[in-house]
C-alpha cells in the first residue's frame, strides 16, 4: 500500500504542518519500505487493512451495485424524489473491466463526457458507479492524484452530481463510529474538491455543493442503512489546504535537490515534522518522530503540548514542582501554576518528602 491517490491527500489534510509526511505523499512512498530505509529495521507494527475488512467492504459494495444497483437505487431514490425503476445507472466497473492503471484514464474520459453533457443540459445518468476524477497537485501535467468515489448521484435541484461513499461500517441508532467517519468524510471532501475542479473546466463549479452522501450498513448484515447527507465545509477547506500544501512541498523538494538527486530518507533532517496524537496508528514513522521529542511535553499528548508548549522539558517541570528555583520571571509564574496543580493532586514534593523523612 502506498500513499497514492486520495489516501495521501486525506492524510495530508489531517496534519497540515508535517512537511515530512507531505513529502512522503509527493514521492508516493510505500510506508513500510520507507520506514526500513529510514531506520534500517523492518516495520514491526501492523500496517494496512485486514483481509476480512477488505472482503466485507467489497461484499457490501457489490451487494449494493448488483442488478443495476437495485439496492443503492432504492436507498437513494427517495432522497432526490426519483422513481426507483426509472433511474438510469451507468456502472463503470462493468463498462471498463481491466487493470487499474488503465481504468483511471478511461473512466475519467467517460466521466468528463457525462459532465460535458450535463453542461449542455442533455440527459445524463442519475447514478454513476465507480466514476473517476483527478486532482492537480503540482505544476506539471503528470502531477495529479486520482480520486475514485464509490458513486455519483445526480441532484436534480442543482443539476450536478453529489459524491457518495459506500462503507460497511455498522450504524447503530443512526450513528456510525466517529473514528471511522473522520477518514470517510475527508475522502468525500477530496471528491468534492476534484469534482469542483472538473466542473470548473465547464464553468459549472458553482453548482458543486460541499455535500456528500454516505451509505453505511445495518447491524443485521449487508443491507444498507438509510443514507446520510452531510455538509463537509470544514473537511473541504482542509483538503483544499492540503492540495496547496502538497504543491508547496513539491517545490521545496525540487529546491533541496537542485544540486544532487538526494533520496528522501536522506532529506529527513531538512523536513520539519509535526508530531501529534493523530500520527499514532496512522503513520508508520510515528514512533520515529516521537523519539525526537523524548523528555519533552510533546510525548505527553496534544493537550500537554497546547497547554505548556511541546518543547517544555518534562524533567524541568517536575524539578520546579519539587522546589527548584525558577530561572526567569515567566518560569516563576509557571512554577506557581504547576506546584498548585501538583498540590491539588496530593503530590508530595521530593524536598518536602526528604524533610519529613
Amino acid at each position: 500500500m502506498s500513499l497514492r491517490s486520495s489516501r495521501g491527500i486525506v492524510r495530508t489534510s489531517r496534519n497540515l504542518r508535517c512537511v515530512l509526511q507531505a513529502a512522503m505523499v509527493v514521492e508516493r512512498v510505500s510506508e513500510p519500505e520507507f520506514y526500513e530505509r529510514v531506520t534500517g529495521t523492518k516495520f514491526e507494527g501492523e500496517y494496512g487493512e485486514r483481509a476480512s475488512a477488505r472482503r466485507r467492504g467489497s461484499k457490501f459494495e457489490s451487494n449494493l451495485t448488483t442488478n443495476n444497483a437495485a439496492l443503492l437505487r432504492r436507498a437513494l431514490a427517495p432522497i432526490f424524489g426519483y422513481d426507483v425503476e426509472a433511474m438510469v445507472v451507468r456502472n463503470f466497473a462493468d463498462e471498463i473491466p481491466g487493470p487499474p492503471h488503465e481504468l483511471h484514464a478511461m473512466r475519467l474520459t467517460r466521466m468528463r463526457r457525462i459532465l460535458q453533457d450535463l453542461a449542455r443540459d442533455r440527459e445524463v445518468p442519475h447514478l454513476v458507479i465507480q466514476p473517476q476524477l483527478r486532482i492537480q497537485v503540482g505544476p506539471n501535467l503528470t502531477d495529479f492524484e486520482h480520486v475514485s468515489p464509490d458513486f455519483f448521484v445526480l441532484n436534480p435541484a442543482m443539476r450536478m452530481y453529489v459524491p457518495g461513499e459506500m462503507k460497511s461500517f455498522i450504524v447503530r441508532q443512526g450513528v456510525a463510529d466517529g473514528a471511522d467517519l473522520d477518514l470517510t468524510r475527508r475522502q468525500a471532501a477530496a471528491q468534492i474538491v476534484a469534482l469542483r475542479d472538473e466542473a470548473g473546466r465547464l464553468a459549472m463549479h458553482g453548482r458543486v455543493e460541499n455535500r456528500a452522501l454516505f451509505v453505511f450498513a445495518q447491524p443485521y448484515g449487508l443491507m444498507p442503512a438509510r443514507p446520510v447527507i452531510e455538509v463537509l465545509n470544514q473537511e473541504v477547506f482542509e483538503v483544499e489546504r492540503a492540495v496547496q500544501f502538497l504543491r508547496e512541498v513539491r517545490a521545496r523538494l525540487v529546491g533541496l535537490r537542485a544540486s544532487t538527486a538526494t533520496p528522501l530518507e536522506d532529506l529527513i533532517a531538512e523536513l520539519p515534522i509535526n508530531y501529534q496524537d493523530r500520527c499514532i496508528g496512522s503513520c508508520v514513522l510515528a514512533t520515529v518522530c516521537e523519539r525526537r521529542f523524548a523528555g519533552r511535553a510533546r510525548v505527553l499528548g496534544d493537550a500537554a503540548s497546547d497547554l505548556i508548549g511541546p518543547d517544555t522539558d518534562v524533567g524541568r517541570l517536575v524539578a520546579l514542582i519539587n522546589g527548584a528555583q525558577p530561572r526567569t520571571p515567566e518560569e516563576a509564574v509557571f512554577a506557581t501554576r504547576v506546584r498548585l496543580a501538583a498540590a491539588a493532586l496530593g503530590y508530595q514534593p521530593r524536598t518536602l518528602r526528604r524533610a519529613t523523612g
Binding site: 514491526e44 485486514r50 499514532i280 510525548v299 505527553l300 496543580a341 493532586l345
Partner: protein
Amino acid sequence: MSAILDVVARAIAYEQRRAYRVRETFSIAADPRVAFGIVPIKVVSEEVIQAIAYGDIARAPKTIVRWNPLSRDAGDLEPFGRALDRYLTSMIAAEAVPRIWLPYSTALDLLDVLHYRYRTNQQASAVLQRMGWQCRVIVEEASYAGQQMVAVATDLLCEHVVTGQAPVKDGHLGALLAWVAPPPGSDPVIEAERRALVPAAAMLEAEADKRVDGLRKRAKAGDVRARAEIETLLERGVQLEWDRLVEARRTFWALKLKSGPELPGLVKESRERASYALTTNLSPPSRPRRARSPPRRVRIRRRASRGR
C-alpha cells in the same frame, strides 16, 4: 480532571516511570462474590464474534470458538447466553448488583451489536433473544454515570491513574498496564511501545488473523485439520485477552484505594435499575402473524361459512 492537573500528573508519571494515582477512593464498589468476565474476539469490520471467553473471572474461563462465524447459525453462542442468564438471574434473585468485567469499550460495542442482532430476531432461539435483551441491559446500564454493574477495565484504570504517555495510547490495555504495573527492571516507555505493536481491541493479532482467514476456505470445504487449527488459534487469542483482563482487574484492586462514601447509594441505584431492566422486557420480539388468532371479521366469515 482539569487539563493542567492531567498534564502535571502525566509529567510526574513520566519522570517516575510509573502511573500516578489521581483518586483517593475507588469509583466502584468491591466486586460481589462472583464477578462475570466477558472477552469477545471479533472478525475485524464484521462486528461478528468469532471467539468469546466468559464466566467467573476468578476461575478459568469457558470459551466458544467459531470456525465459521459468518454462518447464519448462531446456535453456538447459546452456552454463553445461558451462562450470562444464570449469572444475572442469580444475582438479581440475591438482590445484589451483578458485576460484568470487560477489557475495553469495544467489547461493550460488540455486546450492543448482539442486542441488535438477536433481541427481537424471530429466527433466533429463545436463549439468543434473551441474551440479546440482557446485552442491551448491560450496554444501557454502562451509559449511566456512577453505575456499578459494568466494569470496563481500560476506562476504570484511566479514571484512577494517569500514565506518562499520551492519553491516546492509554486505550491499549497492554500499554496501559505497562505503566500501572511495570514489569521489574523495565522502562514503561519502551515496554508500552513494544506491547502496542500488537492490537488490543477485541481482535486477533494480525498474523493469526491472516492465518485464520486463509484457513477458513479450507475449513468450509470440510478440511477437519483446518477447522482444528482455526479453533486452536482462536482459543489462544481469546485466552490471551482473558489473561489481560484478569491482570487488569488484579492491578486495579491492587491500587488499594479507600471505598468512596457515595458508593452504597450508587450500588442501590444500579441494583434497582438492573433489577427492573432484567425482569421487564419492555419490547419483546413480536410474534409471527400466523401464530395470532385471525381478525374478528375473518372469524365471523369462517363461522358463517361453516354454517354456525
